[in-house]
């Protein structure tokens, strides 16, 4: 039913549904959203400029702090880009250790997100269960790298810490338990009527729209499109490891949840395979301090989607230009599209559906040229 007039509903920057400050202005007609205007930039810190002021080694730690959830994805992408600049081949064992950490991070990020989605849908019990299981991953990562969130395990030319055989056994033991738990939760999500009613046909993103609006990652895969940097442009050791790219034809929030649940199982298989085929040898080669003029691009499949870093060197020990293109920027246009026609009550769920990470994405927008 249309009321003929619209009301403007502000959302954010401080909002209980989002942990990050981001502002959306919704124009609603009755209960239906008719227009969405995002206003990004609250978290803009000037990371790209900061990159230019520090040395390559210092920037490693800055790269991890672009995003606190996919910190390893950012540091992998950074090291990959810089190693492309030099160019430098890293030892196979380091490649596998990076990959194992990346997949562990995907497990933690996805379980975090499925928990948040359950919470937004009003299913708090599952939220608590998933976050309880997530603590096991955090413990593992702390044991391997020494830190829960910012692992600092990557370095230019390899990794800083090795995975011992005891740790490998521990990871495998954990995977067994985690996998059976995730399977159980997936079963619950697939059969729980309240969750299905809340998420099915909510925030529908048609495959064509997903491509036109440049959606990436699980959001794109939940629209039935097989796209994953790990399979399309294998980096690290993904070319050697058999795995499936999970897709779902649902195109809605429910599909996004199931895609992430199944990706967790797939990640667990990847880690198991990588641990079984962990090559022996060095974990690090020394990198040069200065890098000759060159350009390089790194692509990584972060938990949220395709992540691109670009670097240009000028012969000194600092990059001349550094650019980060985070997955949320790709997904933002699609989420604004899917929000149109949605009910006001579904806004948090749809917004959370893309697994937004605004800290990666925020940049300056100049809206008034005259100022």
């Amino acid at each position: 039913m249309s009321y003929g007039t619209t009301i403007k509903v502000p959302f954010g920057p401080q909002h209980p549904a989002l942990k990050e400050p981001e502002y959306f202005l919704f124009e609603v007609d009755g209960d239906i959203v008719v227009k969405v205007t995002p206003r990004i930039g609250y978290v803009h810190r000037g990371v790209e400029k900061a990159f230019e002021q520090e040395t390559y080694l210092h920037n490693l730690y800055l790269a991890e702090r672009i995003c606190g959830i996919c910190s390893h994805a950012h540091s992998t992408c950074y090291t990959q880009t810089i190693e492309g600049l030099i160019p430098l081949e890293i030892p196979p064992r380091a490649v596998y250790i990076r990959l194992i950490m990346a997949e562990l991070e995907r497990l933690h990020s996805h379980s975090l997100w499925v928990g948040i989605a359950a919470h937004e849908a009003g299913f708090d019990t599952l939220f608590m269960y998933l976050w309880r299981d997530r603590e096991m991953i955090m413990d593992l990562m702390e044991e391997i790298s020494g830190n829960r969130v910012t692992h600092a395990i990557n370095t230019i030319g390899g990794v800083r810490r090795d995975i011992t055989s005891e740790q490998a056994t521990k990871i495998k033991k954990f995977l067994e338990k985690f996998e059976s738990n995730v399977k159980e939760y997936t079963k619950v999500l697939e059969s729980e009527q309240t969750f299905i009613k809340r998420t099915k046909d909510v925030g529908v993103l048609k495959p064509r729209d997903a491509i036109v609006l440049c959606a990436v990652g699980p959001t794109l895969r939940a629209s039935g499109i097989k796209s994953d940097v790990r399979a399309d442009d294998p980096y690290l050791a993904y070319g050697e490891i058999p795995f499936n790219v999970i897709t779902h034809d649902g195109c809605d929030v429910y599909a996004r949840t199931i895609v992430r649940c199944e990706e967790m199982i797939e990640s667990a298989n990847i880690i198991r395979y990588a641990l079984d085929h962990l090559p022996e040898g060095k974990i690090k080669v020394p990198p040069p301090r200065t890098i000759a003029p060159n350009e390089s691009v790194g692509r990584v499949e972060a938990p949220r989607g395709e992540l691109i870093h670009y670097a240009r060197s000028n012969g000194t020990n600092k990059p001349e230009r550094y650019k980060v293109r985070a997955p949320t920027l790709g997904n933002l246009a699609s989420v604004c599209q899917t929000l149109i026609g949605a009910h006001v009550a579904d806004i948090p769920l749809i917004l959370a559906g893309i697994d937004p990470c605004f800290s990666c994405m925020d940049r300056v927008i100049i809206t008034k040229k005259s100022v």
Binding site: K19, E20, H44, A50, I66, R132, T150
Partner: protein, 167 residues
């Protein structure tokens, strides 16, 4: 101990605000309310509205664009109010302190009661920091704040805001 003070110490309501952080501290903050750490056993409750909150937990360096919003949220909170700076960025600006669009730590904009360093601080550390704040309150700091502190605080706040504008 007055009833109000007793209630304040036994059940502080927290509001969380990210002022430009990388999400690391925020997720650790949320992890603190989940089963392993469970801050609710101390009566600590996460709140959505600043008007109901006693403690403002700030994560991240203060970016230029968020400054006004932070001040607005701070003003909306009822007295007595307390601020906890969570993480290195909120404490001092951390790795972003020299960035062109960052003011620095939270104390460049609003007064801070407790600093929790760490990048990011573990949930245990966050709980410890809040427990320290509650300790401070039980020693009687909250009382002064209502009676005399308010005027001083307001003027100090205005001064900081002016400074922030000039930055």
């Amino acid at each position: 101990m007055s009833v109000r003070k007793w209630a304040r110490i036994r059940s502080p309501w927290l509001i969380h605000f990210n002022t430009g952080g990388c999400n690391g501290c925020d997720i650790e903050f949320v992890a603190a309310i989940t089963p392993r750490f469970d801050v609710e056993r101390f009566g600590i409750k996460l709140q959505g509205s600043p008007r109901h909150a006693d403690v403002l937990g700030v994560t991240g360096p203060i970016t230029m664009q968020i400054t006004k919003r932070l001040l607005r949220i701070y003003r909306q909170m009822p007295e007595p109010k307390f601020v906890v700076a969570i993480g290195t960025c909120a404490t001092s600006g951390g790795p972003f302190k020299d960035c062109y669009s960052v003011h620095g730590g939270v104390d460049t904009v609003i007064p801070v009661d407790v600093y929790i360093p760490g990048c990011p601080p573990k949930p245990e550390a966050i709980i410890y920091g809040i427990a320290k704040l509650l300790n401070k309150l039980s020693e009687g700091e909250g009382e002064e704040k209502v009676e005399e502190g308010k005027v001083i605080k307001e003027s100090e706040e205005e001064r900081r805001e002016k400074e922030a504008k000039g930055h």
